[in-house]
């Protein structure tokens, strides 16, 4: 294996491996980093899914690995499927502190998978995560079928989750990305996805890939696909269970990394979102399912307490980031009575947009800016839980739709101040 950066050409050793393989109809990319414990479940699902749903189709397994020191690569190589192994570069910092998506240098891994799939002449590339053990063979069908038979170019996942799972995604990322790109993607940073040959061709010849060390590539792919008029679908998958000892569960880190990824895409690819003024529905395939709503322990009081501490401790940063009116509205949110605490959607949208603008104009050190959003996010999340807890899962979904409406409604606020 080589550790050569992935440029327009494949690294020589990967090139040789691909030369030795016949063209494939399907390419399955598994992005790994020390996933020996969980990757067999993924391989099993891939094999089962191919046998069950794509009998006879020639498939190649592509492993883009960030430098695993365990048996991850060997276990994938033993899958019995035609196999391409490729090691990609990853920033040293991400090898030590693995980003939220579990793969140091995920952008390089994606680029590698796209390049190999393109060389193989694949009709579709399926990208999978190596530490998601709830995967079943049916996921392959739901992600790939819209590409192979439905005219989709990019299929993104909708995982079945508890209504209070994914609060960063539901309350920040999804509404923000939706308003930017004009498509309400449910889980824009979730890992599995499928790409058509057309998308591979488009991306393969795209000169503007994000730097490999940043976690912006997934968003850039989605934004590029939408801006280019490619057909974007969603596929409803099952539960999403991650078994990872490396992915961070530190809230400030997760907020900083995910939101930082969105802000970086906004900064680097203005053309993908600034002109967007209309919002279209995203076709979704698979059986609809409401989020589960069994009782869970969420300490709303502590979350409101964290919000209140933020008001006290982070005021000097927020004063630089938030517009005076926004800051005034945030300050007047009454947090004394937790049960009555609310955080209006329009205000929340403006808060997030002000942070995007603060990032854009570098009003404070960007890492500090991103992390200082955490108490606001906790306050907004607490308000969401408080408002929806007495109601059912459908009402929770409805509330998220209202959040998305607010982000779309307030987008001119962002655009006016961006330029």
């Amino acid at each position: 294996m080589s550790a050569v950066a992935v440029g327009p050409e494949l690294p020589p050793d990967v090139d040789r491996q691909v030369d030795g393989l016949a063209p494939a109809e399907l390419a399955v990319g598994v992005l790994t980093y020390n996933n020996a414990a969980t990757v067999p479940a993924v391989v099993e699902a891939v094999r089962g899914g191919l046998e069950k749903h794509f009998t006879g189709a020639r498939a190649v397994l592509i492993n883009a690995d960030a430098g695993s020191s365990d048996a991850t690569v060997d276990r994938l190589a033993d899958s019995g499927l035609p196999f391409v192994r490729a090691r990609h570069e990853a920033p040293a910092a991400q090898l030590g502190a693995v980003p939220f998506h579990g793969v140091p240098g995920r952008g390089a891994a994606l680029r590698l998978a796209v390049a190999v799939a393109r060389r193989l002449g694949a009709r579709a590339l399926l990208v999978l995560e190596a530490d998601v053990t709830s995967i079943t063979g049916d996921w392959l069908e739901r992600l790939l079928r819209p590409v192979l038979e439905g005219g989709a170019d990019l299929v993104m996942p909708i995982h079945a989750r508890h209504r209070y799972d994914g609060t960063i995604t539901n309350l920040v990322l999804a509404p923000l990305v939706g308003s930017l790109f004009g498509r309400r993607l449910h889980q824009p940073l979730s890992g599995p996805r499928a790409l058509s040959a057309r998308a591979l061709e488009r991306l393969g010849t795209e000169p503007r890939w994000p730097e490999s060390g940043r976690s912006t590539t997934d968003l850039w792919i989605a934004g590029t696909a939408i801006a280019e008029g490619l057909s974007v679908h969603e596929a409803r998958l099952g539960r999403w269970r991650v078994e990872s000892s490396t992915r961070s569960t530190d809230l400030p880190t997760m907020v900083a990394q995910t939101l930082g990824a969105v802000f970086a895409v906004m900064e680097d690819y203005e053309d993908l979102w600034l002109p967007t003024t209309n919002w279209l529905a995203v076709p979704a395939d698979g059986p609809p399912a409401l989020p589960s709503d069994e009782p869970v322990q969420i300490d709303v009081e502590r979350m409101v307490g964290a919000f209140t501490r933020g008001l006290r401790d982070l005021g000097t940063i927020w004063e630089h980031v938030l517009a005076p009116d926004t800051l005034g509205d945030v300050l007047s949110l009454g947090a004394d009575d937790v049960a009555r605490f609310r955080f209006p959607d329009d205000l929340w949208a403006r808060v997030v947009y002000d942070f995007a603008l603060g990032y854009h104009w570098s009003v404070v050190y960007r890492e500090h800016l991103l992390r200082s959003l955490v108490p606001l996010y906790l306050g907004r999340t607490a308000a969401y839980v408080l408002a929806t807890r007495p109601r059912d899962a459908a009402a929770s979904e409805e509330a998220l739709g209202v959040v998305a409406d607010a982000f779309e409604r307030e987008k001119p606020y962002l655009v006016d101040r961006w330029r």
Partner: protein, 560 residues
């Protein structure tokens, strides 16, 4: 952002400023409230929370305004009550609070109350002051200004009686045994509190009441009156106005001024300040650690006020004779630098303009238990002029820029209330706000960063202190704890690099996060924790234990 807690003063950093010295908006050579109002952005950006305004009232200025001739007005040189109101409102709009000096013990002899009182024993104000036919009463009370006063009594030729004064003879003491005086002074306080003032720094409070056979200082009757004042103010103003006592006494003697949390909210910690300078010069932590062993606990709602310098001389009343001699040797080599029992110099020249030492002392100021008070100009390292007489050398115009009169005023140089500092080292052409604002590594910007870091944790204002005892006595190390948060401060008092091993076994598993740069240091083990510090270097660490602050909200594992 405004701290809305009733005990906001526990988290606050104070900024002491003289109106006449800050900015002259009407071009008469004397700073004024309009100028101070114009300068509020600067003060806000510095990162302080509360301004302490030195005496602002009409006064003959025989004691720099501490001789008040009218409690209800503003000195005409500084503006009007309306100007003050505009200033106060503008400060509040920036979430800055304001407290003002108030002299409770005495007035100017020009005050109408005294003029009436002296006119006749039948005057309605006859008993507003302490009169006597004899100058032998209260003979056990010491004379404070021994250089200028021979007695605490002075014969008034009009009333032909003696009046009592603990300070200058032109400052007659009010008679607090007279309930009318107490009511009158409460009305004075109400007048300013009604305008929104956030509290008072109360000058010379130990001397309110006199009793025969006592020192006439710190008497129970004085405390009873102060408690009465506090109760009224708390009751009428909602409990978030602060009273800061000036009682230049040992901590155990100051302690009663806190009462049971029902007298003063704050009091200055006078003895600590000279020991910071001593420790630095001796390169020895003991003067600093020792004074804390002599500092009694105070009620939880109370707070010490800490300072490095102020408008007075660096007072050495609270040190031993040997320590005082050493301080003079170390910090006042020129006799003109001495005044009374102290040294009339500013922070930067005291420390020979050594940035590292200036930063180190500010580090200690901001991290020891209490609310720091920064004297205007010290945040840019302003110099002094000991040849201006009295304490005028540390009260010169603020140095805003290298423009005419340091940007303080546009009058002719000779019209200034005091000349600007113009020497080659500390003069306004070398040391000014405009230049330091532009230079990222300037003292001003360093102070801003330190103040910003201090704002990130309530431990600084509210935490306990526990000194570590490393073998290297040149390195001061202490833990500050509040609620679940622990900070570790390590400071090198030496001008040479120093190693230090700290016993942090109780924190094994915790990770020190350096607060100014956010750098993660190696995890603490049971073995001694080794650090090396550059000359006068310091670290502020947050100690994060695994699991600290990690009681789950319940959303973490699935938040994305």
């Amino acid at each position: 952002m405004k701290n809305t807690a009733r005990d906001w003063y526990k988290d606050a950093v104070f900024y002491e400023v003289h109106v006449k010295a800050f900015r002259d908006a009407n071009d008469d050579g004397i700073g004024d409230f309009a100028g101070l109002t114009e300068s509020l952005d600067y003060i806000q950006e510095l990162g302080v929370d509360c301004l302490w305004i030195l005496p602002m009232y009409p006064s003959p200025l025989r004691d720099d305004g501490y001789d008040i001739a009218d409690f209800y007005g503003i000195h005409p040189s500084y503006g009007t009550v309306e100007d003050f109101q505009k200033f106060l409102d503008a400060a509040h709009a920036r979430d800055l609070r304001v407290i003002a000096d108030l002299v409770m013990n005495h007035t100017s002899d020009q005050h109408p109350w005294f003029q009436s009182s002296r006119s006749s024993p039948a005057s309605p104000y006859a008993d507003y002051y302490v009169w006597s036919a004899s100058d032998r009463r209260f003979a056990d009370a010491r004379i404070i200004f021994v250089d200028t006063e021979k007695s605490n009594w002075t014969l008034d030729p009009t009333r032909r009686q003696y009046y009592w004064h603990r300070f200058f003879s032109h400052q007659p003491d009010l008679n607090y045994d007279n309930s009318a005086v107490r009511h009158a002074m409460l009305d004075v306080m109400r007048f300013w509190l009604d305008r929104g003032l956030d509290g008072f720094r109360c000058d010379a409070v130990p001397y309110l009441v006199e009793r025969e056979g006592t020192s006439c200082e710190n008497l129970p009757e004085t405390h009873a009156i102060l408690k009465e004042f506090r109760a009224v103010i708390d009751h009428e103003y909602g409990g978030d106005r602060v009273l800061l006592a000036e009682a230049n006494q040992w901590p155990e003697d100051v302690r009663p001024y806190f009462g049971d949390g029902d007298e003063f909210h704050m009091s200055f910690h006078f003895p600590l300040m000279p020991r910071l300078y001593l420790g630095l010069r001796l390169e020895d932590t003991r003067p600093i650690t020792d004074i804390f062993t002599h500092t009694p606990p105070i009620p939880p709602t109370c707070q010490w006020g800490l300072f490095l310098r102020n408008h007075d001389e660096l007072t050495l009343e609270m040190v031993t004779n040997e320590e005082r001699a050493f301080m003079y040797y170390a910090y006042a080599h020129d006799p003109d630098m001495k005044l009374n029992l102290g040294i009339r110099r500013r922070l930067a020249p005291l420390l020979d303009g050594d940035r590292r030492r200036v930063e180190l002392l500010n580090c200690l100021l901001l991290t020891l238990p209490g609310s720091p008070i920064i004297y205007y100009g010290d945040e840019i390292g302003m110099g002094d002029n000991v040849y201006l007489g009295d304490r005028n050398g540390v009260r010169t115009p603020m140095q805003w820029s290298r423009d005419r009169n340091a940007g303080f005023s546009s009058v002719e140089h000779g019209q200034l209330y005091l000349p600007v500092i113009a020497d080659p080292v500390y003069g306004y052409e070398a040391v000014n706000v405009a230049a330091q604002t532009r230079q990222p590594s300037s003292l001003l910007n360093t102070m801003r960063r330190l103040l910003a870091a201090r704002r990130t944790s309530s431990v600084f204002g509210r935490g306990s202190i526990e000194f570590l005892r490393p073998r290297n006595s040149k390195v001061l190390a202490y833990l500050r704890r509040h609620a679940r948060e622990t900070l570790l401060i390590v400071a090198n008092l030496s001008a040479a690099p120093q190693p230090v091993e700290l016993d942090l076994g109780a924190f094994a598993g915790a990770t020190p996060i350096e607060m100014l740069g956010g750098t993660t240091f190696p995890t603490i083990r049971t073995a001694p924790y080794f650090l090396s510090l550059g000359p006068h270097g310091f670290y502020w660490f947050g100690l994060e234990r695994p699991g600290d602050g990690d009681e789950p909200f319940g959303i973490e594992r699935t938040a994305i």
